[in-house]
């Protein structure tokens, strides 16, 4: 099928082309249409020079020397407004991740108390390790007793007033010293976020550098706090991911089964949906209604969570959520929190699809709300799945268009799994890095954004890196993009440079390792910290780089900030709203280097972005004498 240039320009993914053409045929709108209708987007907002922090405003600063206001009513300059806006984005992003972490701590607590309706402690090994980190005694105690103490300890990280946040001490000593010297070692997760809101209130902190430092502190509390807690506790409860084979892209939807999509970010609900989809009673009901089975598939990071742990296939990344519904083959799309487009309400209304919201924190117009509570987790999940199964009879087979594309992938490379693949120690990896077979490591992560061609930046940046012998670790929507083009198969080693190819082939691993969901970027931090500590250097000395080629969310701003704060040079593919302030832009792209040993760069072209990362890696190698 030939598609119009307009459609082809929106994505590199053939399923997107097919479903956009289908949307056009049905007269349905998607994020791409709404983006077009939004143009032009306000330039003041793009530059970050628009302030709505008080009601003397809204104020906006003109970027032109000779025309328009240079100060807000209160006197705030572009530098002040940009810095405040940026750290408010960090606060929102850190809050989102950390609330996710808090919810898991809560689930662990309920499970330990015996009140979790169906949860259990799956990874006792990890529980023991974490307990040791928190100085919780394990001798002769049951896993529930240990978990109770651990839950209390991680729960306390959120509300505490004085640090340190325990997991932040996984960072190399030199890094922690640096944070302390700069006064950005976080004290408690919530405290740093609240302090951003205080400082950005009218008339409080109006020093751009001081503001940005607080932003970094909150971001560290996210990366080494809230997010890391989310990852670690998920592993304790649901099991630490191990290499698992699965499939990716819209073709994982099945024409003859009940299709249930789990979408959003938290594994708590999706774990139970997966379990309930295997319930004999519900399978029998599905059969009675003429379906061959119950097919649970994921989207976005909830999808990544169950992909990594159960090999549940993943239907696509952020920009494919509407397209999945447009297949007409989805009985229910079940959502929790984050990155769920409110547009799904209207869209599912055009199909038989049930749109089910489950979090007390996230309701959507047009959704059926079935609130999820951990103490009755399995029962609620079963009811939700039952509703989806019963909905199968309303499917209109004539309206079903499912793309053929689905690609195999090998996922589940948690830090532990990487160590296991290396034979139990980081030594072989270090050897390969020292020998130059592997030039370095790159973490490529982040969302999709209709401002740029869907998946183009993700896939090309990653391909360019592996071609140059850079081992790529990935999470979030980048991971899904890579999975969809086969980069997560061991066979993809053929696309890697000679050194990396041999390493991957001898270990049987792909050149692109799926480390999980967005909160799991904490796993990348852990790996970098372990490597740095093994070499006796700081993270900023390592031949590693980060990138978010198509980012859009506030979480991504927080992630970028903690990655840079951790000492990792990071390239952004879409422009953040900071260009209205030369001072802030310079601080982030050059000044930060002296303070924290890393900077941001902005480069929309993935090939050039790869070059920036590679030359950074080369520089670090040279400095280490490699």
């Amino acid at each position: 099928m030939a598609y119009s240039d307009k459609i082809l320009k929106k994505s590199i993914d053939p399923t997107v082309h097919q479903m956009l053409a289908r949307a056009q045929e049905l007269g349905l709108e998607t994020a791409w249409d709404r983006y077009e209708a939004m143009l032009p987007e306000c330039g003041f907002g793009e530059l970050g020079v628009c302030c709505r922090n008080c009601n003397m405003g809204p104020c906006r600063i003109s970027p032109f020397e000779d025309a328009g206001p240079k100060r807000g009513v209160c006197g705030a300059t572009a530098d002040i407004i940009v810095a405040r806006n940026l750290i408010r984005m960090i606060a929102a992003g850190a809050a989102a991740h950390s609330d996710h972490g808090r919810d898991l701590a809560h689930t662990l607590l309920m499970t330990a108390e015996g009140k979790g309706g169906g949860y259990e402690i799956r990874d006792e090994q990890k529980l023991q390790t974490l307990a040791a980190e928190y100085n919780i005694s394990t001798e002769g105690r049951s896993k529930e007793e240990i978990a109770l103490d651990l839950a209390g300890a991680v729960y306390a990280e959120f509300g505490k007033q004085e640090g340190p946040i325990r997991f932040s001490r996984r960072a190399p000593r030199k890094r922690v010293d640096l944070w302390q010297k700069l006064g950005i070692d976080p004290r408690g997760v919530d405290r740093e976020i609240v302090e951003i809101m205080h400082r950005t209130h009218i008339g409080v902190d109006n020093d751009p550098v001081n503001l940005i430092l607080q932003g970094l502190r909150a971001s560290i509390a996210d990366g080494w706090g809230g997010s890391m807690i989310a990852t670690e506790i998920s592993d304790v409860l649901f099991g630490t991911p191990k290499p698992t084979r699965s499939l990716a892209n819209l073709g994982v939807l099945k024409a003859d089964e009940v299709n249930i999509i789990v979408h959003g970010h938290e594994p708590t609900l999706s774990e139970m949906i997966v379990a309930a989809s295997r319930d004999a009673e519900l399978l029998a009901l599905a059969a009675k209604l003429g379906a061959k089975g119950i097919n649970v598939v994921g989207l976005c990071c909830t999808g990544n969570e169950v992909l990594m742990r159960h090999g549940i296939p993943i239907a696509g990344n952020f920009l494919q959520q509407e397209l999945a519904v447009i297949t007409g083959a989805v009985e229910a799309i079940i959502v929790d929190v984050q990155c769920i487009m409110p547009a799904l309400g209207n869209l599912t209304g055009c199909f038989h699809t049930k749109f089910i919201s489950t979090s007390p924190k996230a309701k959507f117009p047009g959704a059926i709300h079935i609130e999820f509570h951990e103490d009755q987790a399995y029962d609620i999940a079963k009811e939700i799945v039952r509703g989806a199964v019963e909905n199968y009879r309303w499917r209109k087979p004539g309206q079903v268009v499912i793309p053929d594309e689905k690609v195999e992938c090998l996922v589940g490379f948690s830090t532990e799994a990487i160590l296991a693949a290396l034979g139990g120690s980081l030594e072989p990896l270090l050897e390969q890095i020292k020998s130059g077979a592997i030039k370095g490591l790159a973490g490529v992560v982040g969302c999709n954004n209709p401002k740029v061609q869907h998946d183009f930046g993700h896939v090309n940046l990653v391909k360019e890196l592996i071609r140059n012998n850079v081992l790529v670790v990935t999470t979030g929507c980048n991971a899904i993009a890579c999975a969809k083009v086969g980069l997560m198969l061991p066979e993809a080693a053929a696309q890697a440079g000679d050194g990396l190819k041999v390493v991957c082939q001898s270990l049987g691993i792909p050149p692109v390792l799926h480390m999980g969901s967005c909160v799991d970027i904490s796993r990348i931090l852990t790996v970098c910290a372990a490597v740095a500590s093994a070499l006796g250097v700081d993270i900023s000395d390592l031949p590693v780089a980060g990138a978010a080629p198509e980012w859009m969310s506030e979480k991504a701003v927080s992630i970028g900030s903690y990655v840079v704060s951790s000492g990792i040079f990071t390239v952004l593919g879409t422009v953040p709203p900071v260009l209205g302030s030369t001072a802030v832009t310079e601080l982030l792209t050059t000044g930060a280097k002296e303070a924290i040993g890393a900077t941001f760069a902005v480069e929309p072209d993935p090939f050039q972005a790869a070059q920036l990362m590679i030359s950074h890696i080369e520089d670090k190698r040279a400095a280490l004498g490699l």
């Binding site: 143009l39 032009p40 987007e41 306000c42 330039g43 906006r60 970027p63 032109f64 025309a67 328009g68």
Partner: protein, 181 residues
């Protein structure tokens, strides 16, 4: 100063931020309340006569060019669109909402929307009227935070351009003495 032709709006695309402030100012200037918030409170309909668009990454507002030989005037079957000394106007009372003017306007600067004409809900044409009834001139010009818009008179523009050209000519003469004698 004597005016030979009516004024027009000049847009400097390099200054336009795409903020849509001019659209809101335009809509507000044509309400009874005179402000966006006042109009929203009074449940008045907001109609802008301009539109900020983006082409190839460049943002700019588009509005009626006040054509001398206006296609919308020529095509209108009822004489609702007409030309005055200074601008092209619409008499909404005569408009039948046929959209012929929309079809022929090369700038997409005229559109038909629901409004109240003489106490009745009707579809009628809207276009930029240069805010002729507004003290202080065009609302969009006054509102634009970056001064991307200005009201210009053709004669003044011609004078400015020919003066600049003349100056340029003199300068090149001065730098090339062999042309001088």
């Amino acid at each position: 100063m004597e005016q030979f032709e009516g004024p027009f709006l000049l847009v400097d695309p390099q200054r336009c931020m795409g903020c849509h402030t001019c659209e809101l100012a335009c809509a507000a200037a044509h309400t009874r309340a005179g402000s966006i918030i006042g109009a929203v409170l009074a449940r008045e309909r907001l109609h802008r006569r301009n539109r900020v668009v983006q082409v190839d990454g460049v943002k700019l507002p588009v509005q009626c060019r006040q054509c001398q030989d206006a296609p919308c005037v020529r095509v209108c079957p009822t004489g609702a669109t007409y030309r005055t000394e200074t601008y092209t106007a619409v008499d909404q009372a005569r408009c039948i909402g046929c959209r012929l003017c929309m079809m022929v306007c090369p700038f997409g600067a005229i559109h038909v929307a629901t409004t109240t004409v003489a106490g009745q809900e009707r579809r009628a044409a809207f276009k930029c009227d240069l805010c002729v009834n507004r003290l202080g001139g065009p609302a969009c010009v006054a509102a634009c935070p970056t001064q991307a818009l200005s009201l210009r008179y053709p004669q003044q523009e011609a004078d400015r351009a020919s003066q600049a050209a003349a100056r340029q000519f003199l300068r090149s003469l001065a730098s090339q003495p062999q042309l001088g004698s």
